[in-house]
Symmetry: C2
């Protein structure tokens, strides 16, 4: 499948009616329509933050509805020399959608066209489509779109593509990029490309590039037949290490659960205080596990392997008896983010991924670091992939931010020391950019910069994100 | 999973002991060892061809055994200004491994280290490992490596990575790139990179790039649990269109066969003449279908959906009763290439992929073209993906080559006209390079050239392959 070189004209779109780019914000506004170009400070201010960080107030905000309008914005940005920061629902957790300087923020929230082609098992979606809508629209045809980031009821496809988002289902079903068959994107000159996965795989390059290479304006997504049966269990452990050991044992026994989620004690208590679901406040850790498939006996058998592994490692197992119980368990998982957000005024989170075999040591080491720094750290994540989200909770009025950052850096080092990686699914954005120099070697960083320059020679797209500067200058000359 | 930024030093290798590159072939030979650098014409001649095409005799041939030796070769090539053409088993079918000018051919056939880590479900392999060996070594642990190009008993992993090879299993199980977790590669300056799939996905970019961006020296591959049960059937049809219709119907009924292969009459007869398996010589088409899974009832049920769809479209179905019958059916499939090779002195093949819904028209249109040109065309392929391999068989003593190329071009146009693509899995190489201009738009071709220049600014790696020149010059300046 090296080279799928289909017939795809530069654009099926009508040519932009304007030969010259707009030269002023007012001219752009006249072309696109008043409601699509926000110039007032009060409006612009709302586009300075994402789910975790605050940035610079954008110079202007554009809300395009079509690819042609995105082209207009890119040409305008070139004309006036402003950077472009793409933005969806802004639920991201690494500062990826946050402008760092006076910029044009392109908010894709009005590009919400979605078509399902059940025969071809395919969805064609604009970047502003809310993730959950894709699955909802596919379900009547017996089809599913598996990627399910925790924020999937608010996050948009464009952001998921930018971060190559995963979710609980990613252990068995893969991440966003695994479902992308084709992309439309607008390059730095305002040219529209329609790409399939091919020589060289430009689609794969754009997915996960956090808006630094171009603007994705449409994606063609693969849909899969909905598994007919699912079974869910919750296992309660006295100690976090036991939960990690149970996970390793279940997978070694041959189980490939569709979801495999972990919460530590801080997390359990936060959710329980938030939702009153009756979770065991004294437990050291909880695992939530789901198996799925088309054969009820197999699904049941696979769940029993997991249950046995949990019991062997000291877990108390409760299997959801019906859809309502199942939904309650997953409700707990989805509530983690708002629940821990309610504990302290601020939080910063990690997104490390480590080999499953080192999970017990890593989880314990991070707990110990939290105690050492005197800061509350809660941990949860997609433990099947070894993907953990340690969150540092703090109050900026009493906890010095430097101490928080130092702790985060120490947590990242625990991951790297155990053969892990900095980001499982949230991306680098600007919050983790400084860690990059410790995570990639100089030769590879240069190769990454070469890609950046090949796509974005003028440094137009999302400057200051992902790649740390090579030397003292702004990237290689 | 946007950015998995693990700790990976430039190299775990000892530093090359030579500060300066070798300056003559003799010096390179002295450093690497006599048997690893071939200078004699008689030896070099054997490295001018691949499975389908003949090229220029290489200036020298190097058979490295380690990554350090590959680094030596790249530094030498830079020093003397020669291009580098990577080569594995040379079973490729698009001229990808064929040198077009005086070049250094790097044959990876001696880099055959293979380690299986059953706990991590992972194989670490050098590029010279024969594809089939990976599965053979994994099987004792209950694990499989699914990518199975027809040539997998001779082809090497390096070639599979270069072409992002598929095979019969790709409809359900995916292609080579879907199993790559990490790569080691040597860049144009002779620097060693160790990459995981991350921001930007350089691994995904190198896979399928046909040796034009760098030299892959090691791959870390994901292994999967072996499905416990498989069932195979053969369905015989009077006419090719019926077979194509049965495929669509079976998939619409919910079947996701592990393999789904198609042979037309010319193909059936060629295999029968070659192997005497008792295939029906009068049949218009044969489908070979395999379902797999961990539950015997489900596997059986899925096969029955396929059987019903075949019968509804006029097919006569025979289910393999045991492993021996199953093996005989797949033996027929694997014999296609040598069998049709025996029919005429030469052949050139296409690798088109079209939407399943247009398969009946496409197959019939290609049959008609063969009759119109008075050339024998046989068709087979992974019909589940709509991936067809029309082969034009000819005798260069009587059939003018221009006519053959004209017919190939017409076949490619049939595919493009039906919304298809030029290459499902064999790559572009140089045989299909001229078709690229019709398949990709100018803006995307420029973007592909930008990637090429970012990785290979000196045009060292496999020149003349994949990308047609942009204007009259050798790529953008």
């Amino acid at each position: 499948m090296a080279l799928n070189l289909g017939k795809r004209p530069v654009s099926r779109l009508r040519r932009s009616p304007h030969a010259e780019p707009a030269r002023t914000p007012e001219e752009l506004r006249a072309r696109l329509g008043r409601e699509k170009v926000l110039l007032e400070l009060a409006q612009r201010r709302s586009y300075a933050y994402d789910g975790i960080a605050m940035g610079a107030t954008p110079a202007l905000v554009v809300l395009p509805e079509t690819t042609e309008e995105v082209v207009e914005v890119v040409r305008f940005a070139r004309q006036v020399g402003l950077p472009i920061v793409a933005r969806g629902a802004a639920s991201g957790l690494s500062g990826g959608a946050v402008p760092l300087e006076a910029s044009i923020v392109v908010s894709f929230t009005r590009m919400t066209r979605l078509q399902i082609d059940p025969r071809a098992r395919r969805a064609v979606a604009q970047p502003g489509v809310v993730t959950a809508r894709i699955g909802e629209q596919a379900r009547p045809y017996g089809l599913a779109y598996p990627p399910d980031p925790a924020s999937f009821r608010t996050s948009t496809l464009g952001g998921n593509l930018a971060e190559n988002a995963g979710g609980p289902l990613c252990f068995k079903w893969g991440v966003t990029g695994d479902y992308v068959e084709a992309l439309e994107f607008v390059d730095f000159e305002g040219r529209v490309h329609r790409l399939r996965r091919e020589a060289y795989d430009l689609v794969g390059l754009l997915v996960g590039s956090e808006g630094t290479l171009g603007l994705i304006t449409e994606a063609t997504l693969r849909l899969v037949p909905l598994p007919r049966y699912t079974r869910t269990l919750m296992a309660v452990f006295a100690e976090v290490g036991q939960a990690a050991e149970a996970v390793s044992a279940a997978i070694a026994a041959g189980a490939v659960p569709a979801r495999l989620e972990f919460m530590d004690q801080g997390c359990i208590r936060a959710v329980e205080d938030y939702l009153r679901l009756g979770l065991p406040r004294e437990a050291g850790a909880i695992l939530l596990v789901e198996t799925d498939g088309d054969d009820p006996l197999m699904v049941e058998e696979e769940l029993s392997w997991v249950a046995e592994a949990c019991q062997r490692h000291g877990g108390k197992v409760r299997v959801a008896r019906d859809a309502a119980e199942r939904e309650a368990l997953w409700q707990a998982r989805r509530a983690i983010s708002p629940a821990i957000g309610a504990l302290r005024p601020k939080r910063l989170n990690e997104d490390i991924a480590v080999p499953r075999s080192s999970l017990p040591q890593v989880v314990r080491a991070i707990e110990a670091l939290g105690r050492q720094y005197g800061l509350q750290v809660v941990q949860f994540g997609h433990i099947g992939d070894g993907n953990l989200h340690p969150n540092v909770l703090y109050d900026p009025r009493v906890d010095p931010e430097e101490k928080v950052w130092e702790l985060l850096h120490e947590i990242a080092r625990v991951a790297l020391r155990h053969g892990g990686v900095l980001s499982g699914e949230h991306g680098i954005g600007f919050l983790k950019r400084d860690f990059m120099r410790e995570a990639v070697d100089a030769a590879t960083l240069e190769a990454l910069w070469r890609i950046k320059r090949a796509f974005d020679p003028e440094g137009r797209f999302n400057p200051g994100k992902v790649l740390p500067e090579l030397h003292s200058g702004p990237g290689p000359g």
